[in-house]
Structures are given as C-alpha cells and as structure tokens.
Amino acid sequence: MSEPTAVAVVAGPRCWGLLAEFESVDTLLAAAERVRDAGFVKFDAFAPFPIHGLDEAMGIRTSRLPLVVLGGGVTGACAGLLLQWWTNAFDYRYLVSGKPYFGLPVAIPVTFELTVLLAAIGAFVGLVVANRLPELYHPVLHNAAFQARATTDGFFVAVEAGDPRFDVARTRSFLEGLGAVRVDELEDD
C-alpha cells in the first residue's frame, strides 16, 4: 500500500474499524503478513485455535510473560524457605525427635510446592491481565459473522480505525484485495 493520504476522518465517530473474514488458515496467514507489511499496527487476527506462525505473520513481539512466571517462582522459593525457617527455627522453636530446627532437605517439599504454586499463579494471572481479560464487551463480538464462526471455523482480521493508516474505503479495498470473503464495518457503542 502506498502512503496514507491525510484525509480527515471519513468514518463517523462510531466506526471502530473493519473486520475481514478469510476462508482458511493459509489465507489468514498470508493476509496477516500483508497487513503487517502495509504498516498497520492496530490490527488483530482471530482464529478458533492457535495457529503456529500467526504471531510471526502479525509481527508480534515475543511475550515477556515468562519473566512474570520466573518472578513468581523465585518469590515462591524464597517465601517457602523463609516461612519454614522463621516459623520453626526462629519465631517458635520446639524440638521434635531431636531433629534440627531447620534443615534444607526437610524444607525442600514445601519450598518446591510454593515455587510451583506462585509461578503458576503468575502465569495464569499474567495471561489474564496481559490479555486485558475479562473484557466482556468488544466490538468484534457484535458482528454476526464473527459470532457465528470466529470460535468455530472462521478466520478474521480486524483493522482498527484508530490506526494512523486507516481509511475506511482504502482499507476496505485493501482487505478485499487480500482475498477476504467479506469485509464488515464495526461500530463502537
């Protein structure tokens, strides 16, 4: 696509963007690449199952969520060791069967469990938060074709009106040129 023209807002204030539907995994991947290469940034692809390579085709940066998980795990390990040492060997010392107040081998199971627990909570909460869920309202969910097929067998690309290169007519013909079987305008309430 060529340079965007400085057209004033053609679309009405209620236009959220355009939603194009594609027939297969292959056409979706090809379209996502073309949309990315055309310079759009505020766009998204939708598929009923994860498609390997879609993130690359869309130009998504690798997620940093693993760092959150690592952070959770390290926190869990430290908390586990500290908890066991502080409670049994510092705050309230009592002798059981002549065992040491604190011993690393004995502390391993609880430390391990807390490591896994906090890492997993980090992963789950991180996923939900990074994806900005729960988000019960979204303009695409109001589209009939999207509702009928997006989580079953439909493949979609949405380009948002907020994108600097967006222009209703041009973007529509661009998406149609990518082999979209239909292109709908989405409205935001």
Binding site: L29, A47, T87, V96, E113, A120, N131
Partner: protein
C-alpha cells in the same frame, strides 16, 4: 449410540505417515457441533438422568456418613490401635492417584508433543479436579476434630504456635492444595476458548451470560493466542514436575515413618507409577462408556484408547517391579522385622487383600499385550475396572498390613471397616460421579480448539515436520513460504 459409524482403523502404524486423529470426514464446524450439542441439546438420553439420580443419592450418603462421624466421633469407624489408619487414608491415596492421569495427559504428554492427547485431555483434567476434591475430604475428616483443620495452615494465631514443617503430613497439605490450585488454573486456561465457543453459540440469554462471564470475553485474538500458547507451555512445564511431586509427597507420609513396610526409599517412584497406572485405568473406565453414549467415536478414536492401554501396561509393569523390589529388599536387608512384615503381607490375615492386589495389578494388565484387548472397548473397561479395584487394595495393603502386626505380638490386631466407612467410600464415588456428570452436561467435554489444531485443515498434511513448534497446529509449509521471501 443409535448409529455406530464404521470408521477406518487408525491403529495401524504406517511408516512416514501420521495416523489421523479425527475420523469420519469431520471439519472444524462439525467438531464444534458434535461437542457442543451435548451441552446444548434440551434433554440427554435417559441413562444420564438415571446415573445422576444414583450418584446424587450416593453423595447424600456421603454427607450423612460424614455428618454422623462429626456428631458421634471417630469411634464410629473401625480404627483402633494398632491400626490407626484404614479406609480414610486408603481412600485419600486412591483418589489423589486417580487424579494423576489427568495431569500426565495434559502436561507431560503435551511436553512430549503427543498430539493424540487433545481428544482426551479435557475429560481427564476434569477427572483430576473431581478426584482431588474427593481426596481432600479424607484427610480433613480423619483428624477426629475436623473443625480445627485450619490449624494445618501457617497463619499467625492467638496461640502463637506454628505448624511443624518437619512433618510429612504438613508437606501433604502444601502438595495437595498446590496440586489442586494449579490443576484448576490449567484446566480453566485450556477451557477458555471452548467456553467462548459455547457463548457464541448460546441461544438463550442465561447461557450467553453464564458462558460469557466464564469465558472472560475470549475472542480468539492472535495477540491473545500468542500469550496463551506461551502460558500453556509454561503451565505444562510447571505441572509436569508437580504431578511427580504430589504422589512422592504422599508416599513420604509413609516412607519417612520408621515403620517396617512403610520405611522404604522406593516409595516415591513406586507411588507415582501406581498413581498414573490407576489414573489411566480410571480414564479408560469412564471414557469408553461416555464415548459410546455421546457418539464421540470419531474424536476419541480407537487409537486414543489403545495408546492409553499401552501407558497403563507400561506403568503396570513398573508397579509390578516395585512389588518385587519390596520383597527383594526385605530379604536382602536381612532385617527380620522387614522380612516379617512382607511375609505377613502375603501370607498373614490380610493375604486375601494382597492376592486381590496381585491379581488385579500384576496379572490383569498383562492382557494389554494383546492388540485385540487394547482395541476392543469393553475388554478395555473390564481390565481397567480390575486395575481400579487392585489399586485401591494396594493402598489398603500397604497401610493396614504394615500397622496391624507390630514388633510387639501382644498388640496385634485385625482391622475391619464399619458400615460408616463403607458408606463413606461409596459416597465419595457418588460425589465424584455427580461432579463428573454435571461437567459432561454443562462443560465442553472435549478440547475443541486443541482437536481442531491437529486436524488436516489446520495445515498438518502439507509436509514433513521441521522439528520445532510441533505442539498444536504446526503449519510446516509456512516456513517454506517465508524462505522464498514471499513478501509484498
């Protein structure tokens, strides 16, 4: 059930080709239809209602038995010195073990890129959650004063004491509660896309609201899928060691004690193998009828069943080996107490339980060497039920035979369960089945998004695998296109 489709045999191994995992000419939409229709149809066949009535009645029995226990005290059970643990801990270990197959299928088979897991993982994960719920009841009620169970948790309290972290019983609290929490998050994460499918197909306002909230507004965004896949992989990587640790920690309840028959270093791997063995047997027991009942033979194919039978056989052999090692170590250690416990186990008053265990856990699974047995659904169920019985008895044998005859013959005893304990065991099955039947009715029983990703239309048929990204729907030919530099 009415129309049994004639499906191609996908258990045949053809070099260089992958066996299809979804049969019957299904496409994405028909997979969705098949799975969702179970949830959406106004009424299920009568058998579901019959099963649900029975399981609710048994759940009521569980509530009654536990209520009676709380009112009357622990004396209504048959436990007494020298046998302080009986049905309670047997049931606990049994139910925790059942759960292990779900996590193995969802996490370990995922890490090993076993694509066939997609047909059965949701089902098995649900089983895990419900089994751990059943398991959790027993340690909670066996304490005598269950209203003080919260003392197990390390919280600052007015008594200024802390739980004893040097006791394996406390490790258990952490292991089982972590296991439950992580399994639940893993299950729910995997279910998000399918809950969104149910939301989008909802025809009533109530369904749209309930599934809408449960799916958190999932819409299949590529940016979401990107994070989702990473998190799913990480959760699998976390759950894999977790599943090995949970039954290891459960085995520490015994192995860390000084009691002959319990004090053994082989217990952690032995318990883990046994847990997976019993868990897979339970998956087969439940899956075969459910599959026939809801006509899901095209998605849960004979190949899925056969693979599970193979894993059951493999873990069964590990269990048999562990039994052998216990006897070998008793002899080789030269310890007379250890030797007595093992001899007493096989030939003493509880020999009947021991030989039930041996027949069910060692002899019965050998039938799985035969392909005919592995691929015939009802023989699979028959052997699996025997294994379930055998694995319950294994825990009973380990616990009771080690306790009932100690080093002091004047303190020997014989433990018999009372009707309250039998009712509690039956009731726990009722609770398990109730939760399970409700899930079948209201939840996505098969991971639709994952099944679709291993179907040919998701791009798997295009070429050989390139060695990376083989989880979920790999699209090999896209790498070729990228190499060609097909950019506008």
């Amino acid at each position: 059930m009415s129309t049994v489709p004639i499906l191609p045999d996908n258990t045949i191994e053809a070099p260089g080709a992958r066996a299809p995992l979804v049969l019957g000419g299904n496409d994405f939409a028909s997979v969705t239809d098949k799975v969702c229709s179970i949830v959406e149809r106004p009424r299920l066949p009568r058998a579901w209602y019959v099963a649900f009535t029975i399981s609710c009645a048994l759940t009521a029995l569980l509530v009654a038995m536990v209520g009676y226990l709380f009112l009357a005290g622990i004396g209504v059970w048959g436990l007494n010195i020298p046998v302080g643990w009986g049905f309670d801990i047997t049931n606990f270990v049994f139910w925790v073990g059942i759960g292990h197959a779900g996590t193995l299928i969802s996490a370990i088979l995922f890490l090993f890129r076993q694509k066939w897991r997609t047909g059965i993982n949701r089902f098995a994960e649900a089983m895990t959650i419900f089994a751990v719920i059943c398991a959790g009841i027993f340690p909670a009620i066996h304490t005598g004063r269950p209203w003080f169970d919260y003392w197990l948790f390390p919280y600052p309290n007015q008594m200024s004491v802390w739980p004893n972290f040097r006791s394996p019983l406390l490790w258990d609290v952490f292991a089982v509660s972590t296991y439950f929490t992580v399994s639940l998050m893993f299950w729910f994460t995997g279910m998000l896309p399918d809950l969104a499918t149910l939301r989008d197909r909802a025809t009533t306002r109530g369904r749209r609201i309930v599934y809408g909230i449960l799916s958190l507004g999932w819409r299949g965004s590529g940016r979401h899928w990107h994070r989702y896949e990473r998190v799913y992989l990480l959760l699998a990587a976390l759950a894999a060691p977790l599943v090995l640790s949970v039954h290891s920690v459960v085995s520490f309840d015994f192995a860390v004690a000084q009691l002959p028959g319990w004090h053994s270093t082989i217990f952690p791997p032995y318990f883990v193998a046994g847990a997976i063995f019993s868990g897979f047997a339970m998956v087969i027991t439940l899956l075969v009828p459910v599959r026939a009942f809801f006509g899901l033979e095209e998605i849960i194919t004979t190949r899925h069943l056969e693979n599970m039978a193979k894993i059951t056989l493999a873990t069964g052999l590990m269990v048999a080996y562990s039994y052998g090692v216990e006897f070998f170590m008793a002899w080789y250690s030269g310890n007379p107490l250890e030797q007595f416990v093992l001899a007493n186990r096989a030939m003493g008053p509880y020999a009947w339980a021991f030989w039930i265990m041996m027949c069910c856990n060692v002899a019965a699974p050998q039938a799985f060497w035969f392909k005919k047995v592995r691929t015939t659904p009802w023989t699979l169920v028959g052997v699996s039920v025997l294994i379930n019985v055998g694995m319950w008895f294994e825990r009973f044998v380990i616990i009771v035979t080690s306790l009932h005859r100690g080093a002091l013959p004047s303190s020997w005893g014989y433990y018999r369960p009372t009707w309250v304990e039998l009712g509690t065991l039956a009731g726990s099955f009722g609770l398990f089945m109730t939760l399970f039947l409700l899930f079948l009715r209201y939840g996505p029983m098969i991971a639709m998004a994952e099944v679709k990703s291993v179907m040919p239309a998701a791009g798997l048929e295009h070429g050989p695998h390139h060695g990376h990204g083989q989880y979920w729907g790999e699209i090999p030919h896209q790498h070729d296109r990228r190499r060609e530099g097909a950019r506008p």
